[in-house]
Amino acid sequence: MPFRLERQETVSGLALLAAPLLALIFTLIVGAVMFVALGQDPIRAFSVYFIEPLSDPWTLQELVVKAGPLLLIGIGLSFCYRANRWNIGAEGQYVAGAVLGSWLALATHGTEAGPWVLPAMLVLGALGGALWGLIPAVLRVKFGASEILTSLMLVYVAQLGLDYLVRGPWRDPQGFNFPQSVTFDPVATMPLLFEEGRLHAGVLVGLVAVALAAFVLGRTLVGFSIELGGSAPRAAAFAGFDERRVTYGVFALSGALAGLAGIIEVAGPIGNLQPSISPGYGFTAIIAAMLGRLHPVGVLIASLVLALTYIGGEAAQITLRMPFDVTRVFQGTLLISILAADVLVRYRIRRLKGAAHA
């Protein structure tokens, strides 16, 4: 079955809309086969996965809460990846930001500190993430060490550092020596947007980030230099853009956004510092960035879709008693379908007659 992909020079808006639709149809078919094979009623399963979460205000809020950190981190990573810098350590930068931001919350705990605490925590969170993100950047610029390895290794180091703090010096003295900090004071906590539910102000930060990122990437010289540095480094150098500054810039930015996501989660839905503060947001955000084609609006949509697969998966475990592994297989299938459908929109498939080397 020799075939050939032909790049579509112009992708129409219609085709862009068709991609998710195609992915959905493909997933429905593959998913239906899978569910039947596993002895589940496919229609019921799809309804629990996709319809029920989207038809209930509570789950809609939860969807946004879950997508929030993916969005923030994913946008930062988009800058990195556009510049061809492979930061895969956002999970560590998330933790570093959460730690530095929480330091202030713990330092002001029980004092008369005013409403400046939370904004200052956010700044520190971004700073912590940026500093942690700059380590691989410095190692790359100064020594030529690959940022892929260093950023990943630093994830484990950051997690162990957090572990040390919450089991040691930062432990709640009234907490029976259990590993968690005190609960943050109200001035150090993200305000909720509604009375009901968990939707918090941090989500607004994500939306601002989308708008700003879209503006920077689309309309400014900075965005252009990042893009050019990534796709044509020589041309970028010729144009006078400094490769090192791009490296520092994108790592600091993506680290800062990941750190911001970290402190928002800790000061928001979690409420204190504990050994485990992320269900792998930093890694899932890589998928969000890629599925969103490194575009802020794309990342926004991708984050929501990913959040839906998690929440739908939990619902399927609860109402259908589906094992967690089935939901994981389904999530993998869905991602694969989206990726495949995306290609089918960007390329036209031509069948070839006779043998041709592929």
Partner: protein, 307 residues
């Protein structure tokens, strides 16, 4: 001489601990030299562990189990290859999706085997040699997977640098456009390289579930696939450096446990972080000494023939 015995035991543990990392990383190295970055290693590894265990348990044959693990890893790698090579989808996202799929599939396959066990793959004693002091237990008292990893390493090192096939594979990884113009089937070669990567990851999984800790438990690879990926970068895509990296990582992981046993009162978190810090430090030193070694030029870039 108790000191020699301890030293031999420690060295033997290091070699064993490094082997699953080495196996998985070796396969990924070949895939990456051909220009494909497959982040699905963890998924292929755990599928290998689950299918390998299930088969060995059902058939009573470790050899069949190992074979099944290799096949399972290869099959899952084909999912990635189909997406990333033939449909030219984004490689990073495709690899991550493959890992999620693999973790789920492995859990489903293994669900019925929780709480069962196998007899471990035996250590292969070589009469005479295994009894040598120090060298004996470290080099000649290991299981078959350890020897397989070293043979595969030699094979890959030789194949990449000394054979025509290796030359073509590297050409595809460096410049797929030029390789295509020369008439090489770029996508087919990449697919084969990815399949080799899947087979090695499956073998690494089998080492865990058939020899190292011969039972099945969900998520038993515990992130070793990611370490393997990092080691490929560490090695600067050179097989011998990979050997050094895997053994270095294994050494620090094992030694930190021994240091604790002596009761020095160092925070356990710091000791646990040592393997990662040591790897970073070693990479920085290596990179500073010889600059310019880089990734295959076409790594991660999908190939779409124009005409």
């Amino acid at each position: 001489m108790p000191d020699v015995t301890i030293l031999a035991a420690v060295l033997a543990s290091i070699v064993a601990a490094a082997t699953p990392l080495l196996l998985a990383a070796l396969g990924e190295l070949v895939a990456e030299r051909a220009g494909t970055l497959n982040l699905g290693v963890e998924g292929m590894m755990i599928v290998g562990a689950a299918v390998g265990y299930a088969t060995a348990y059902g058939s009573g044959s470790l050899i069949l189990g190992t074979l099944a693990a290799v096949i399972a890893g290869t099959l899952l790698s084909l999912v990635f290859a189909g997406l990333a090579i033939w449909l030219a989808a984004n490689q990073v996202a495709s690899g991550l999706a493959t890992t999620i799929l693999g973790l789920g599939l492995a859990g489903l396959v293994g669900a019925n085997y929780v709480g069962t066990r196998l007899d471990a793959a035996p250590e292969l004693h070589i009469p005479g040699l295994s009894d040598l002091p120090l060298v004996g237990p470290v080099v000649f008292g290991q299981d078959a997977f350890v020897y397989a990893s070293l043979i595969l390493l030699a094979f890959v090192a030789w194949g990449l640098s000394r054979t025509r096939a290796g030359l073509v594979l590297r050409a595809v990884g460096e410049s797929h456009g030029a390789a295509h113009a020369l008439g090489h089937p770029v996508r087919r070669i990449r697919t084969l390289a990815v399949m080799f990567g899947g087979a090695c990851a499956g073998l690494a999984g089998a080492h865990l579930s058939l020899a190292y800790t011969p039972f099945w438990a969900s998520d038993m690879t515990a992130g070793r696939g990611w370490i393997a990926l990092a080691l490929v970068v560490f090695s600067a895509w050179k097989p011998l450096w990979l050997l050094a990296g895997a053994y270095l990582f294994g050494a620090v992981s094992i030694l930190q446990l021994h240091v604790q046993g002596f009761g020095l009162g160092i925070p356990a978190q710091l000791l646990s972080a040592l393997p990662y810090l040591a790897t970073i430090a070693a990479l920085v030193v290596i990179s500073a000494l010889k600059r310019g070694q880089g990734a295959p030029a076409s790594l991660g870039v999908p190939f779409v023939p124009d005409r």
